[in-house]
């Protein structure tokens, strides 16, 4: 079913140091603990989803995997080999294999340049073209792949002449220009209109399927993850809390936060509205709660939850969670 592991993060941790703000003890500024011990594997031809609220660290994970900045600890493996490529030729080589797509297609294209320029540049920089005719041919092929047809018409358009969905397709074509093996899509459809989203997601799905790309789909919308990803991993306040195949995770979630997320998502099919209780808001990552980071908002918290970080509990085949409650039930079984 799923192919070999292409890109993997092992125990990735990222602490940011604030450039300004009050100093703590010893004159140091306290770090923002954005990501703690995140392990994630992307397989060829498979869509993996990373789901979480804004500020939970999902984009930081994307950037760590893309080598935008170094991890505080932990490692990134590309095809099983450890990589550290943050600048120079090594970075360029890495970028040829791992590409990013961003949320905002209005900001990620240069407003002064035509579509042709956006696609030709990566082709030239990464040495995929022999002549200008060859370049033209490849640009046309890329546009064809993302269904921006008639190709001749789109090639000479400026970004402002395109709709949001079309711009995102150009951004996807640009990422494909270098012929990557892994693609990281950070909220690729959240800025697009509902009627447009589906087309862009389908395109990404097809690309993973046909070209054998390993795709990481980062989103806050768990329902779309259910439709487009095989595996879903849920993140909360910088830590992974649950992972499993899409159907199992959305239909029988194990972690109370996943349950809360599913209950809160708008769903017109719901018969009765979920009980409304105030759950408070996500915690500060400068001083994260001790133990399980979800315990202050958790409806079923145990005393141990505030003391120790829960380990990984297997709750089914390929389905695991970090939760003391699940740990207890597993012990009783």
């Amino acid at each position: 079913m799923s192919g070999e592991i292409v890109l993997e993060g092992r125990n990735l941790t990222k602490h940011f140091t604030a450039a300004r703000g009050p100093r703590g003890r010893f004159g140091r500024r306290p770090p923002v603990r954005a990501v703690e011990e995140v392990s994630l594997a992307l397989r060829a031809g498979t869509v993996t989803a990373l789901v979480g609220e804004s500020g939970c660290g999902k984009s930081t994970v994307a950037r760590l995997l893309a080598q935008v900045y170094p991890a505080t600890s932990g490692e990134v493996l590309l095809r099983g080999e450890r990589v550290k490529a943050h600048r120079g030729p090594a970075f360029r080589d890495y970028r040829r294999q791992v590409q990013l797509i961003f949320q905002d297609p209005f900001a990620s294209l240069n407003p002064f340049h035509r579509v042709r320029y956006h696609l030709a540049r990566p082709l030239r920089i990464h040495g995929h073209v022999r002549s200008s005719a060859h370049e033209q041919e490849q640009v046309a092929e890329l546009l064809e792949r993302v269904s921006l047809t008639p190709v001749d018409q789109f090639m000479d358009k400026m970004p402002h002449e395109l709709s949001g969905g079309q711009r995102q397709r150009v951004a996807i074509a640009r990422a494909l220009a270098v012929r990557p093996i892994a693609l990281i899509a950070d909220e690729p459809v959240s800025m697009l209109d509902v009627s447009i989203r589906l087309g862009v997601l389908r395109l990404l799905e097809e690309l993973a399927d046909e070209s054998g790309l390993a795709l990481l789909y980062i989103t806050h919308d768990i329902a779309s993850a259910r439709y487009f990803a095989e595996d879903i991993t849920v993140m909360y306040a910088g830590r992974l809390i649950e992972s499993g195949d899409g159907e199992t995770l959305t239909q029988s979630p194990a972690h109370p936060y996943t349950k809360l997320l599913l209950e809160s998502a708008p769903d017109p099919d719901r018969v009765t509205a979920p009980a409304a209780t105030r759950h408070g808001e996500p915690p500060s990552l400068i001083e994260p709660p001790s133990g399980c980071r979800f315990h202050p908002r958790c409806p079923v918290a145990l005393p141990v939850c505030s003391e120790r970080v829960p380990g990984r509990t297997e709750v089914g085949e390929g389905h695991w969670t970090h939760c003391w409650q699940a740990e207890e039930t597993a012990l009783l079984r």
Partner: protein, 328 residues
């Protein structure tokens, strides 16, 4: 019992390359105490419509025709579009309040939350004493779930959800009859969004105001609204109760929107989506503006523009429904 009646309202944006018809010929009723959902894609005219009703439009936008009538609980109907400066000042906030999309931008960053509520009270209810105003401020914040000590907090000290609550508290300050909420929860997380929606419903029960709730998220509207109006290319294409629209949408566009949302439960139904892109409003397609993207389009659709006519439940503007109705 209608609290607001919009009749044949049209709004144009004047631009160099011709007028953009952002809202064309919209007629809509808002009943007392109901939550009316206004849904549509970006550029469908939903925000322009709301701003026209609140008289917030500025050139190059201009209301070219139509009327908006507000009915007080007791007394004469008010022609909203004809209000003068002073009357408008009395109308806004006391009768009609607005909560904007981004509370981050709607709140004044250099003034505390308490001061901003106080500001509204001082200007619109000059007879209140300072002590009464402070009491009212604390009461309002408590009602939306913000502790009284946060009164002295600045917007940047509050989280996104808190800021949106504060914006709602300001809207509630003078007990308006109508609150227009323009994408009030788009910037929030689902968990916080759920809490705010619940808050809006409870406050509505308590105070009895009517809400115009604008969003592009139809699944959200289905949960919160009593009635829903769907807009496409500046026109209302379907209205109906949330239940009816969910069960049996009559317009192909509504059906397309509904089938664009991945579902959380039940079988993984195939998603239809809507092909193509929204039209350019400078030169909308002839006939029904939706026909180039419509799966059920007939020859007549590009020739004749369907009128919004009463259907089985609510109203619909589609030639298909002139005789039989949309097949699912």
């Amino acid at each position: 019992m209608n609290v607001l009646e919009i009749r044949e309202l049209s709004v144009d944006y004047q631009s160099g390359s011709g007028a953009v018809h952002a809202v064309s010929d919209v007629s809509l009723d808002l009943r007392r105490g109901e939550i009316l959902g206004l849904a549509g894609e970006s550029g469908s005219g939903k925000s322009t419509l709301a701003n026209a009703v609140a008289r917030l439009l500025r050139p190059p936008a201009a209301i070219t025709s139509g009327s908006v009538v507000y009915h007080r609980r007791d007394g004469e109907p008010v022609d909203v579009l004809g209000l003068g400066r002073g009357e408008l000042r009395a109308f806004r906030w006391k009768e009609l309040a607005v909560v904007f999309q981004s509370a981050m931008n709607a709140l004044n960053p250099v003034s505390t939350i308490g001061d901003q509520i106080d500001d509204v009270l001082r200007i619109h209810a000059p007879r209140m004493s300072r002590k009464e105003r402070v009491e009212r401020t604390v009461e309002l914040l408590r009602r939306v779930g913000i502790g009284a000590d946060r009164r002295r907090g600045y917007p940047h000290e509050l989280s996104g959800g808190m800021r949106q609550r504060a914006a709602i508290a300001i809207a509630l300050a003078l007990n308006p009859e109508i609150i227009i909420m323009d994408e009030p929860t788009t910037a929030l997380d689902v968990v916080v969004q759920r809490e705010i929606l619940h808050e809006i419903r409870t406050l509505r029960e308590e105070y009895g105001f009517a809400v115009v709730f604008i969003t592009h998220d139809l699944s959200l509207l289905m949960e919160i609204s009593d009635r829903i109006a769907i807009m496409y290319a500046g026109r209302v294409v379907e209205t109906g109760s949330a239940k009816a629209l969910h069960k049996a949408p009559s317009h192909p566009y509504t059906l397309g929107l509904l089938r664009s949302f991945p579902r959380l439960h039940g079988p993984r139904e195939e998603l239809l989506g809507i092909p193509g892109t929204p039209p350019d409003l400078r030169s909308p397609p002839p006939g029904c503006a939706f026909h180039p993207r419509c799966r059920f389009a007939m020859d007549a659709c590009s020739l004749r523009r369907p009128e919004l006519v009463p259907g089985a439940e609510g109203q619909v503007a589609c030639l298909l429904n002139d005789d039989k109705g949309v097949r699912q």
